[in-house]
């Protein structure tokens, strides 16, 4: 599975807005490059990213080839309760990767 690095604060106060960062390893081949053979290198990108907080979707993105290699997102969410944030990436050629991180909310 491709490597992913996520940043979720370990602890937060209830109601606090926390920043979440997610980075995944992926070349994001655009499908517009011409290889040394003279043929177009086929598109191979991550197309979807979903972040869930205790099973509820809090952020979702549709990615296009214009997203740089090793896609990075920073977004925010309200720390509502202790639990787990899950991150799922999916894309071309059946690409799939997941990561998770726990948060303690006081």
């Amino acid at each position: 599975m491709a490597r992913a690095l996520v940043n979720v604060p370990a602890k937060a106060k209830r109601g606090e807005i926390v920043e979440i960062k997610a980075l995944i390893q992926h070349d994001m081949e655009t499908g517009f490059r011409v290889g040394t053979s003279g043929n177009i290198i086929p598109r191979d990108i991550i197309t979807d990213f979903v972040c869930k907080y205790n099973g509820q979707e809090i952020f979702r993105a549709e990615l296009f080839p214009a997203i740089s290699a090793n896609p990075f997102f920073a977004f925010s969410t309200i720390a509502t309760e202790s639990g787990t944030l899950t991150f799922e990436w999916s894309g071309d050629k059946g690409f799939s990767a997941t990561e998770s991180a726990d948060i303690t909310v006081e």
Binding site: R3, L5, V6, N7, L23, Q25, A69, N70, F72
Partner: protein, 260 residues
């Protein structure tokens, strides 16, 4: 490089007196390429969780403990925990190798271990595995001052590297020194010219959208200057790296850095 950029360089160089031996940057005026990057690129490097170079460090950590099918041992079997055993190592490379009678760079050293000690096949240049181990080992020197080039036995090779740095090459008849000693900080095609210190290698270059070695960057430079790049694995790269590391002595390592 566009024709416009070449014209800019030529006129800039004609405008200032070009001395035969370029003046070295005074030690206290040396700046890392980090200081010449934008705020966003610096932020990318500063945080291990936003620096794509860390993926290679993590891969390297896994490779360090892994025993190949052919290999008799893993790196960890001899070297234990890299966080202690590899601390400071990258900061003093290229280092003199007595068996070969000349300095070798860190990637050559890794492959020497693979063939001589691990009895495994060497990793190809710029391969994922070699870059991962290079990144992992170099990461253990982060923050430590560069010490390469102090070994007496390496001196003749350091002088070769210095000569290469100052030698005019290629269709533009430019030397490394003319840009990186004489004109650092000035703009070339909209981007500031860095001093050219290799204190962050291997690094994630935005232009490549991947991690790459100093040799890859030097090849870029040579092609950019319209000079013939030295062949892959040529000793010139190691001599030049030795000189560049000595030129950056005392500056802290930043590997794996991020650069435009």
């Amino acid at each position: 490089m566009t024709r416009a950029a070449a014209a800019v360089i030529t006129s800039a160089l004609l405008g200032c007196a070009v001395s035969a031996a370029a003046d070295e940057i005074p030690l206290n005026q040396r700046k890392s390429g980090y200081e010449m990057m934008g705020r966003e690129s610096r932020a990318m490097q500063d945080d291990d969780l936003t620096n794509p170079g860390m993926f290679w460090v993590l891969d390297g950590e896994a490779l360090w403990k892994r025993k190949d099918d052919a290999a008799e041992k893993s790196c960890a079997d001899c070297h234990g925990d890299a966080r202690t055993s590899m601390k400071g190592v990258a900061a003093r490379y290229p280092a003199f190798d007595a068996a070969r009678g000349r300095p070798v760079d860190l990637e050559q050293r890794i492959n020497i271990c693979r063939t001589d000690r691990q009895k495994a096949t060497p990793f190809p240049a710029e391969s994922k595995e070699l870059l991962a181990l290079d990144a992992y080992v170099s990461r253990q020197s982060r923050g430590l001052p560069i010490e390469a080039g102090s070994d007496e036995r390496s001196k003749p090779f350091l002088e070769k590297g210095r000569a290469l740095f100052n030698e005019r090459q290629g269709q533009l008849n430019l030397s490394c020194a003319q840009c990186h000693d004489d004109n650092w900080g000035q703009k070339l095609a909209g981007a500031p010219i860095p001093q050219g210190h290799p204190n962050g290698y291997p690094l994630y270059r935005l232009e490549w959208q991947t991690l790459g070695s100093l040799q890859r960057r030097l090849r870029n430079c040579l092609v950019g200057m319209r000079a013939e790049p030295y062949s892959f694995g040529a000793p010139e790269y190691v001599d030049l790296e030795l000189y560049l590391m000595w030129r950056a002595r005392g500056m802290p390592m930043e590997s794996p850095a991020v650069r435009p």
